[in-house]
């Protein structure tokens, strides 16, 4: 039993479900949980810098209200009272939302993203907004205009990206769980680098309303948490058929927690040979194959197969995502919100200066590329070609899922690189997304679960992919695997206990 007002770091050691259970039982209050998180944030932000904005006042106020509702029996859900963090590309009414970009340095949305509203309705307390690669463009959280986020396992290393702030915050116990978004691996890759669990759901499962778009046809919001059970419970809460998002899908199979069974007997698992090639770090490969072995021992049928087309996913992705981004980001023009250049002459210079000063280099790079591939004379050769490739990649997955329940592989070719190593060579950085990107092109769900650490002590993530709407299969496989090990937190997360 916690002491009231004491250092409640242990509250943050708990999974979201365990903490909520204590709150429901009256052993801990929601404000106590929020305070524990805020204390941890104060303690570690100097090192980790997972947040762009911490809303201490708002969180405590929200926690008080939630507590009343819990006591009144109005909030009984499995996450009520738990403090969480939201990636800073989801709109939160009255709370600064920057996309980690200077161009939105002062943007305060007038409405809240549907996924966040769903969380709030379930009694989740929003602590603040997490750092990310600017507009979710990047794999390291180093392209943020508000400073880099550091990996809680080793602050010399990146947390991955683009949801690096969300994943680092979860790993560092600076929240009970977080929401991230995944356009090309932006939940799964940083989850893998930070030793936490993250799900990218089937496209259309979680409403994109209020998610500031990067690549609209690829973006999905998903949970980041300490374990698979938390992720399943969070996904159950945030998934909804939203009439405000035309691409939202009506599903009646969102009871994801029902799949939390330690049973993979007879499950067919395929490992793409194409994922185990020369680009893959040896230690990562060993960890992945060991994880596959665990599942085999539990009764799954595991075999290698040729997925094909893997090397075409990245060029197709960068064409499509950049094209969509070039259009999606044109609304940032210094007129309605955000940054406007201080000095300019005339309208066009106002546009150009505001955007050039407001966007960072990686964002500009993708906007330029996207504008080019859509421009007159290049549309067919680049954009349509990429959409045709996407169709072929979807077909390849369809063929694979006709044979396998789950595709198993690494979430990333290597563990977290050192800060500053990646940005010098963008193309090299893009190649790091090779295992995650095709899931976004095909719209399929994927999960990353920790499966060990390398010799540097950095976490390795196991990625499981399922067919569209088959989240339950990957949740079951991931949960079964997770049952074979215990959750490891970075030393830094618990330091204050000493």
């Amino acid at each position: 039993m916690m002491q009231k007002g004491g250092t409640d770091v242990n509250l943050m050691d708990m999974t979201a479900l365990a903490l909520a259970k204590k709150i429901r039982a009256g052993e801990v209050s929601a404000p106590e949980a929020a305070r524990a998180a805020l204390e941890q944030i104060k303690r570690l932000e100097g090192t980790v810098h997972a947040y762009v904005t911490v809303d201490e006042e708002g969180a405590l106020k929200q926690a008080e209200e939630v507590q009343k509702k819990i006591e009144a029996g109005e909030l009984t859900g499995p996450l009520a009272g738990v403090p969480a963090a939201i990636k800073d590309n989801m709109c939160t009414k009255g709370l600064l939302t920057t996309c980690s970009s200077r161009i939105l340095e002062n943007f305060v949305p007038t409405y809240t993203a549907q996924a966040v509203e769903n969380l709030e309705a379930a009694g989740v307390v929003v602590l603040g907004k997490t750092n990310m690669d600017e507009f979710a463009m990047g794999s390291t959280t180093e392209t943020s205009a508000y400073g880099v986020t550091r990996n809680p396992w080793n602050p010399e290393h990146v947390p991955g990206g683009s949801s690096g702030g969300s994943c680092a915050a979860v790993a560092a116990n600076e929240c009970s769980f977080a929401l991230g978004s995944d356009t090309g691996g932006s939940i799964r890759q940083p989850s893998s680098f930070c030793g936490v669990t993250g799900i990218k759901p089937t496209y259309g499962t979680v409403s994109r309303y209020g998610l500031i778009a990067y690549g609209s046809s690829l973006d999905q919001i998903g949970p980041v948490a300490k374990d698979v059970s938390d992720c399943a419970a969070i996904l159950e809460v945030i998934a909804s058929w939203d009439r405000k998002d035309s691409t939202s899908i009506k599903r009646d199979d969102c009871d994801f927690t029902s799949a939390l069974t330690d049973d993979v007997k007879g499950m067919k698992i395929g490992i793409p040979r194409d994922y185990l090639g020369s680009g893959l770090d040896v230690e990562v490969k060993q960890a992945i194959l060991a994880a596959a072995e665990v599942l085999r021992e539990k009764g799954a049928e595991v075999e290698e197969f040729d997925l094909s087309l893997v090397e075409y996913a990245i060029p197709a992705y960068y064409t499509i995502a950049s094209a969509e981004a070039s259009s999606n980001l044109s609304r940032f023009d210094g007129i309605k919100y955000g940054y406007r250049a201080k000095e300019y002459e005339g309208l066009h210079q106002m546009y150009k200066k505001s955007r050039s000063e407001g966007f960072g280099p990686e964002v500009k790079r993708r906007i330029m590329l996207g504008s080019f591939v859509l421009s007159s004379g290049y549309y067919d050769a680049y954009y349509l070609k990429a959409l045709r490739t996407k169709a072929l990649i979807k077909q390849a997955f369809d063929r694979a899922f006709a044979k396998y329940d789950v595709i198993l592989g690494p979430a990333a070719p290597a563990t977290a690189p050192k800060l500053g190593e990646s940005l010098s060579n963008p193309l090299q950085m893009y190649l790091g997304d090779i295992y995650t990107i095709s899931a976004n092109l095909a719209g399929i769900p994927g999960i990353s679960v920790p499966c060990g650490r390398d010799s540097k002590g950095l976490p390795i993530g196991l990625q499981l992919l399922g067919d569209c709407f088959q989240e339950k299969k990957i949740i079951r496989a991931a949960y079964s695997f997770e049952c074979s090990r215990t959750y490891e937190a970075p030393a830094l997360a618990g330091k204050a206990v000493e």
Binding site: T97, Y209, I212, S216, A323, I335
Partner: protein, 478 residues
């Protein structure tokens, strides 16, 4: 001898649809309102907002397409047209390029030279832009997004027109079809119907089209006619001087009666269209098409024919009555009540149009009810009021939609049908005007008119002039 030139014209007509809400959000389309009060995150391009298509927009676009004999793209979708301008909050307009809802249609127009079909290349759905207000005193413009996201259809014609007359006949035809469908009120002055003119000239007999220009900002039929004439001459002058016409967009300034190029280095005409990933495709089933077709109201051509046959109305009159949906509706509804088509037609063709002209109004502005018109027709037909009184009463109906039965009663305007009272008045007038009586008897037929007038005056207008005339002649012939 100077060369002969032919003008080749195609139109892009934008029509604001009569929906209650915008095309992609639940904001009102109501005209007016303080700046930015009919807005939401979607139609102001707030980060994270997403569009959802208003079904009624598809219904209207489909109805217009069917009424203009178009083929329907049963699988249609929306594309983004990317360009920066402050009235365009997302800096892309959601429109249709690759698969517009309708294509390959046409309408028949009639000009002095006869009938002709103007082809319709396509009709697509899109969103309107906001409004820019230019500050009088400061070097800035103000952006109001109330109109941003109002649904439009753009009707793109083939380059089939050769004169301003044909252009206006075509626009008039479109306007009537769309008004009849109830898809828009099509008011040029208020901008709910707008036409951009694509024009080129070529030497008479030439096969190839010349280089065309696009003219924008044409707010009236007059402006369209002037702009066409002006641009035709400008292009011919260029060609005669051995210069080339530049393909460009030009803006018409109606007060200066002059157009100028809108081109700038910063406005590269490269819209980078691509399918909008935020919107799903629209599938229009055979059943949907059949339903819209079945619900299609009678259009002008059919109505005109029916008026001639069913009501024996002359072609000219039927043409005028059907030239406005409002006139035609008034005609049919009043006729249904009083069963006197010819008389109703006379009131509409005569007094109604006269008063509209006097007041500078359009038939669409008529506010009186068919019931009151029908009542007046009956009153006049039964001789309850005479013609002069009837016209006076009609003016009241026109302005205030009064009930003529009540009005006539209250103001004591009924024709006096009392034979005795009339006879004694007539006799008194004869007695008082011996000179006129003598003139009449001396063969001056016209003198009778004066006596009728005097009698009417004495009766305070409430007599039937025909009856007075008859009685005067009868008494004087004794």
């Amino acid at each position: 001898m100077a060369k002969q030139y032919e003008t080749v014209i195609g139109l892009e007509v934008h029509v604001e649809l009569a929906t209650k809400t915008k095309i992609f959000c639940g904001c009102s389309t109501q005209f007016g309102g303080a700046p930015n009060t009919h807005t939401c995150p979607v139609c102001t391009g707030m980060p994270g907002s997403l569009p959802v298509l208003n079904k009624q927009v598809v219904e209207y676009a489909l109805a217009v397409g069917l009424a203009t004999n178009c083929q329907i793209n049963q699988h249609c979708k929306f594309d983004r047209k990317n360009y920066f301008y402050p009235d365009n909050p997302q800096n892309y307009q959601i429109s249709q390029l690759y698969l517009p809802i309708c294509h390959d249609g046409g309408v028949e127009i009639e000009t002095e030279k006869g009938k002709k079909t103007i082809g319709i290349h396509e009709i697509h759905m899109e969103e309107d832009a906001g409004k820019l207000i230019h500050d009088e005193w400061e070097d800035c413009s103000l952006v109001d997004f109330n109109r941003s996201g109002v649904p439009l259809i753009e009707i793109v014609s083939e380059p089939d027109m050769r004169s301003a007359e044909e252009v206006i006949a075509y626009l008039d035809k479109l306007r009537l079809i769309i008004q009849y469908l109830g898809a828009s009120d099509c008011k040029l002055q208020e901008g709910s119907m707008r036409a951009d003119v694509n024009l080129s000239v070529r030497e008479a007999g030439a096969e190839k089209f010349g280089t065309r220009t696009e003219m924008k900002n044409l707010n009236s039929f007059k402006a369209i006619a002037h702009a066409i004439e002006n641009e035709r001459e400008r292009q011919i002058d260029l060609l005669e001087a051995g210069e080339a016409v530049v393909q460009e967009t030009r803006r018409w300034d109606d007060t200066k009666e002059y157009s100028y190029a809108m081109r700038s280095k910063e406005d590269a005409q490269d819209y980078r269209y691509f399918p909008d990933p935020d919107l799903t495709p629209v599938y229009i089933s055979d059943e949907w098409i059949a339903r819209v077709r079945a619900a299609q109201p009678e259009l002008r051509t059919e109505k005109l024919q029916r008026y001639k046959e069913e009501f024996s109305i002359p072609e000219y009159d039927a043409g005028i009555l059907t030239s406005s949906k409002r006139l035609a509706d008034l005609f049919e509804e009043a006729t249904a009540i009083c069963k006197k088509p010819k008389k109703v037609s006379n009131w509409l063709m005569g007094e109604t149009l006269r008063l509209l002209k006097e007041n500078g109004q359009e038939p669409e502005d008529l506010r009186f009810s068919p019931e009151n018109l029908a009542k007046l027709v009956n009153l006049a037909d039964a001789g309850t009021v005479n013609n002069r009184v009837a016209k006076e009463v009609f003016e009241k109906i026109f302005t205030d939609d009064i009930d003529p039965e009540v009005y006539v009663e209250e103001h004591g305007l009924k024709t006096v049908n009392d034979e005795g009272a009339l006879r004694s008045t007539v006799e008194a007038v004869i007695a008082a005007n011996p000179q006129s009586v003598a003139d009449y008897k001396g063969g001056k037929e016209k003198a009778i008119g004066f006596l009728v007038g005097q009698t009417m005056k004495a009766m305070k207008g409430k007599a039937d002039p025909g009856a007075v005339n008859k009685m005067l002649k009868e008494i004087l012939s004794r």
